[in-house]
Amino acid sequence: MAKEFDIPVLPTYLEIPELKEGIMDGEGPFKSVQEFQNPLGFPGKKVDNWQQVAIDKIGELKSKYRSVQVFLDSCVKCGACTDKCHYFLGSSDPKNMPVARQDLFRSVYRRHFTFAGKYFPKLVGAKELDDDMLDDWYNYFHQCSQCRRCSVFCPYGIDTAEISMAAREVLDAVGIGQKYCNQILGKALTIGNNLGLPEPALRDTLLDLEEEIEEETGGVAVKYPLDQKGAEILLITPSADFFAEPHIDGLIGYGKVFHQDGVSWTLSSYASEGANFGMFIGSYDVMRKAALRIRKAALDLEVSRVMVGECGHAWRVAYSFWNTLSGVGAGATDEFAQKLQDQLDHRYPQPQHIIEYTHDLIQRGKLAFDKSANDDRTVTFHDSCNVARATNMGGIPDGQFILPRDVIKAVCNNYVDMERSTIKEVTFCCGGGGGLLTDDLMEIRVKGAVPRMQALKVVEKDNGVNTLAAICAICKSQFSKVLPKFDFDPYMIVSVHQLVSEAIIMDKPQTDTDDVTSVETSET
């Protein structure tokens, strides 16, 4: 299925390509099978009356999601979004223009749910949901990383991500799921993480990590506690942090920061996953199920703070959705959420991002750095789409842009931003988000990376940038894969906390025992 394709040549300036119809036509990513579909409540294969099921599902979704209803009705086809999608810019396929992608859905909506579409389909571009259309849905709604860049530019805020999620939900409902997402969700909802890493394996990995750090630092015992009841902080981080490169160096950074602060913290083997692919497939139920594991872990471990590691959509789900889904935050009324409210320390934002935590420690002078340790680097920061456009940090306007940069600048002497039109709220996606981080989608991943790669090339040339920092597991994996295809060093992508890790001065006396006693006293 993964066909041969040419690696695009990076342009000097990012230009809007001429349309090449059908260039990204195809069968889409590998399809899910019964064994992955059924546990999520989806049919194992394409159902017989799929058209009816799909139309009913569209009807249901538009009555449950105001976004879907309003966005389907409001588009005027002004064209403002047509040159905003990285997948369009990189692939030239017109169906990758946000409005055209939405129109795959909107044309069916019009045909079945609007007066004009029922009686004058040709006039308003209403279309039937036939086999060809369904194929197009599967293919092109899996060429959207739900990055929401189009939504920033739309005069009505129409967010293709919402339509993409709805479309994937419809596809799942008729039995056509994506293997990558649904297989991973099965692992996350049964074992506790996307990798299917069971508790003993996780424990071993963490022990190895402790040894490695002790060796590297010359005897500093940075601990990676697992399932430690009564710890103050529960860290929920993407499972990629446990073993993938360069993610693990970020995890080393978190551990060092916790160590220097002297706070007690823990990971959970039951909820060992920050990523929540339920968002990618658009399923509220699945997303909630995954979120509830984290609430359960927080309750079982009796922590007073829930913290999230470097993961883009995990932070979106945590920051924007957890309070809604599971009551991690303030104001939920069900029994478990109430119990959690009582347990959580409301002097801190709940949940809190690891960057907010480190930033706060830096502000309060609790961490010391040898910035020269990063002097071999000239760093730029890639704003990950979900963090940039769907969350905040620090509770201040634009905090999600300010805090990570502050942290980087506190630990590095050389920092440069990429071109303004490619960062912050208008950042370009890495090309691998939204459930696309799978090898069977390599062509669209490489093409979708073009706008980011082009901006990076400019700062590499002009400012000698040799390090790309990010706070998203998907971005890190994606960049490791695509950087070399554009003649960059694949190791130039790092975690922000890797930079922290390299510069932090580990001068804290070993006082582990103090922490444990303080926790034990507060446990009553």
């Binding site: 976004s67 002004c78 939504s151 009505y156 919402e162 303030a330 069900d334 934002p349």
Partner: protein, 270 residues
């Protein structure tokens, strides 16, 4: 009037054309009002289950109001996106608004207050409106990307608005004036149910015919972007998910009944 022999009894001096347009006005108005009420009700009752504001997000309700004002008055996001679409789009909308304000005089019952003198220059807004529409039309035809996404109705909408704008401008700025007193009697008569004949110059009839049609199709067309913007969750939500719980009625019900579908396969919550 040569059509007087066709007039109906209860309005003995009304022509068939006048009756037709009077009826069309009320039919269109009712279609507009009922359609819009239904649509706005639908937007209103459809919950937004999740917090999805798009950056740069306002952290307070006041911030949301300011953002919405900037969107509605200045087309802020469109400005960020594309200066040409913004220029033409904004010219058209501001032109239309000013022209509509100036039209109030025709529906005003009795003598016009002197405040209407101030709206006199608004007639020139017709040019802004037409220039904007021509710009949008040219882009729709000549920019490949926009041509690709355009359906016949997208062109038709622009053509209708163009004809409305041009026919109005022709009556105002050329010697093809229409009988303005009659227009006022007709229009204010529609408001006071004191129906009167309308002038029968072709450009006037075309003008109001298309206006009435546009009014009727408003709730079943892309003109729904007008109420839509106010209901857009990415634009009207406060970014305060951590401190304030946001939950939809259906999700709350599901939560209270522990009723997610996944419980059959993956066990109950907690």
């Amino acid at each position: 009037m040569f059509l007087n022999f066709l007039t109906i009894e209860f309005e003995s001096n009304m022509s068939v054309i006048s009756i037709f347009f009077t009826a069309l006005f009320y039919i269109s108005l009712i279609a507009f009002l009922i359609g819009m009420a239904r649509k706005i009700y639908q937007f209103w009752i459809t919950p937004a289950p999740l917090k999805i504001p798009t950056a740069p997000t306002p952290l307070t309700q006041t911030g949301v109001v300011m953002r919405m004002m900037r969107e509605v008055v200045l087309f802020e996001s469109l400005f960020k996106s594309n200066k040409w679409i913004w220029l033409f789009g904004w010219l058209f909308h501001i032109g239309l608004l000013l022209v509509l304000i100036r039209h109030i005089r025709y529906f005003w019952l009795g003598d016009l207050p002197s405040i209407f003198l101030l709206t006199q220059p608004f007639k020139y807004a017709a040019f802004a409106m037409v220039i904007g529409l021509v710009g949008l039309m040219l882009r729709r035809i000549f920019v490949e990307r926009i041509r690709y996404i355009s359906a016949p109705s997208d062109y038709l909408m622009l053509i209708m608005l163009l004809i409305i704008g041009i026919s109005g401008a022709v009556m105002t700025f050329t010697s093809n004036h229409t009988d303005i007193i009659m227009v006022k009697e007709f229009a204010s008569g529609l408001v006071s149910f004191n129906w009167a004949n309308l002038p029968t110059e072709v450009h006037f009839l075309v003008h109001i015919f298309l206006v009435f049609v546009l009014m009727a199709i408003f709730p079943i067309s892309k003109l729904l972007h007008v109420p839509g913007i106010f209901f857009s969750p990415t634009r009207n939500q406060v970014d305060d998910a951590r401190s304030k719980r946001h939950i939809s009625p259906w999700a709350l019900k599901q939560e209270q009944e522990h009723a997610t579908r996944l419980e059959q396969t993956l066990g109950k919550d907690e």
